[in-house]
Amino acid sequence: MEILTEKFILYALAAGVMIGSLCAFLGVFVMLKRIVFLGITLAEVSALGVAAGLIIGIDPMLSALVLTVGAVFLFWLPYRSTSISREGLIGFTYVSAAALAVILIAKNPMAESKGLDLVSGNLLYVGPADLAVAGILTLAVAVLYALMYRNFLFVSFDPETARASGINAGLYDFLIYLSIGVTAGVTMKMAGVLFVFGSLVIPPLAGLLLFRRMPHIIAASVVFSIVCSIAGIVISVLFDWPTAPSILVTDCALLVVIAALKMLLGGRPARG
């Protein structure tokens, strides 16, 4: 158990809690806006950005950010084609980004030496500089949503009426997409596709199962993510399992327990 007090484990715990909480919070909007597929595609584009940055020789976080923000802009633009659905375009982007990322990593001898695993992530390699970046990102997203939460909710629930009320629904929608994209871009090298995408989906599902009001759903989603991130990292260290999959298996197991208990007790989500 002494290993749990090692510096690199504490860094991993801090990163897991911070990135997991951030994704869990943003994930509530991902679930409500029904853009789950877009979420994993942005995560995959970020992974491609990291892989491309390493090959080209630029900061992988920067290349991930550039590609992800580009993808956010592409998917935010009004979609007019009647022959191919928007989902089809997102699917194409997902597949091409995933395939290219795998090839770029496979052909980069530096990737292994840097402990780079874009699928499982490498939380155990996180250092103080990474933590600082994750902290700044978390703070920036927190401030953005503290200031604009009401309008984000309005344009997500009813963009047409929001627009009719004089609210720039397109801009607010773009900011929601951008916050998800930037989060994926910045955290990808630290956490990997699986952890980022899993944290966008599983904790919000728990929140939605447990509660019926936004503030409580958001709080439950974040707490769920914190608990599972800590438990998952401890499990990964104790059993020598890969970190991100350990956290997500914990996420999934706890979600199944909650769902089963709800079915057994026959309850709807709490009124709160």
Partner: protein
């Protein structure tokens, strides 16, 4: 296409030779009419004729391909969207939905003031949902949802209410209660009302004028002109008789 000569008119929205459409394809062409302050205007037409397109143009959400839509400066819209367009997945209480009507008016701190809360409470009271403020919006009946959306638009203290098919999928009783409520609000709160419906009988006893949308065009008529068998039969291409029972207008097809 003036809807009859009226005295003391104060046009708040003016359509002048307007063509509307999407991606260059025109849905409605060369439309000219005016909405006056205090109007109760019905926009009627078959499904897919362009009624919602017209509404979007009034709101400024759709720019004209040709012509101009002039809106009085500072005119505040209260839009009531078709409730079926809203996703029931959103975990919002009735009160939270109605509060959205105040969001565009919030200050930089984005907090609801006592004045905002008062407007929300008043709106809920007007539509008879004061007791249901904490209920989940998605659990409401169709009629109650319609009332909540109406309350949301009233909370913004609008000059003009625009309602898109507010009685869709309601039974006769729900339909009557919603229309009576809109009628009351129009008179009691002195708000201009524009209501879109594909059913003539829904608006017949409430509106002052009707804008008929058909075959890519729109024509405005006062109710006195509309309420004749000859006019309606010619418009719809089927025999329609018009009558009045207990002071209420009614139409019979065939």
């Amino acid at each position: 296409m003036a809807g009859g000569e009226r005295t003391g008119r104060e046009p708040v929205i003016i359509f002048d030779g307007v063509s509307l459409g999407y991606g260059g394809a025109i849905v409605l062409g060369d439309v000219s009419y005016e909405i006056d302050r205090g109007d109760f205007l019905g926009i009627i037409g078959p499904n897919g004729s362009g009624k919602t397109t017209m509404l979007r143009a009034i709101l400024g959400n759709l720019k004209p391909i040709d012509g101009s839509v002039r809106v009085s400066p500072g005119l505040r819209f209260g839009y009531v969207i078709q409730r079926q367009a809203l996703d029931p997945i959103f975990p919002l209480s009735v009160g939270e939905v109605v509060e959205m009507g105040r969001y565009p008016l919030l200050g930089p701190r984005r907090r609801l003031t006592p004045r905002d809360r008062e407007a929300v409470a008043h709106s809920l009271d007007v539509v008879g949902l004061a007791e249901m403020r904490d209920f989940a919006y998605r659990d409401l009946s169709g009629g109650q949802k319609q009332r909540a959306l109406l309350a949301r638009s009233l909370a913004s203290e609008p000059d003009i209410l625009l309602l898109d098919e507010p009685t869709n999928d309601l039974d006769v009783s729900g339909e009557t209660r919603i229309m009576d409520l809109i009628h009351d609000i129009h008179h009691r709160e002195n708000i201009t009302v524009v209501i879109v419906s594909h059913l003539l009988h829904v608006v017949l006893n409430h509106v002052d004028r009707l804008l008929f949308i058909k075959d890519g065009g729109a024509t405005l008529h006062p109710m006195e002109e509309v309420m004749s068998s000859g006019f309606l039969s010619g418009l719809y291409g089927v025999g329609i008789s018009v009558s009045e029972v207990n002071g209420k207008r009614s139409i019979v097809m065939g």
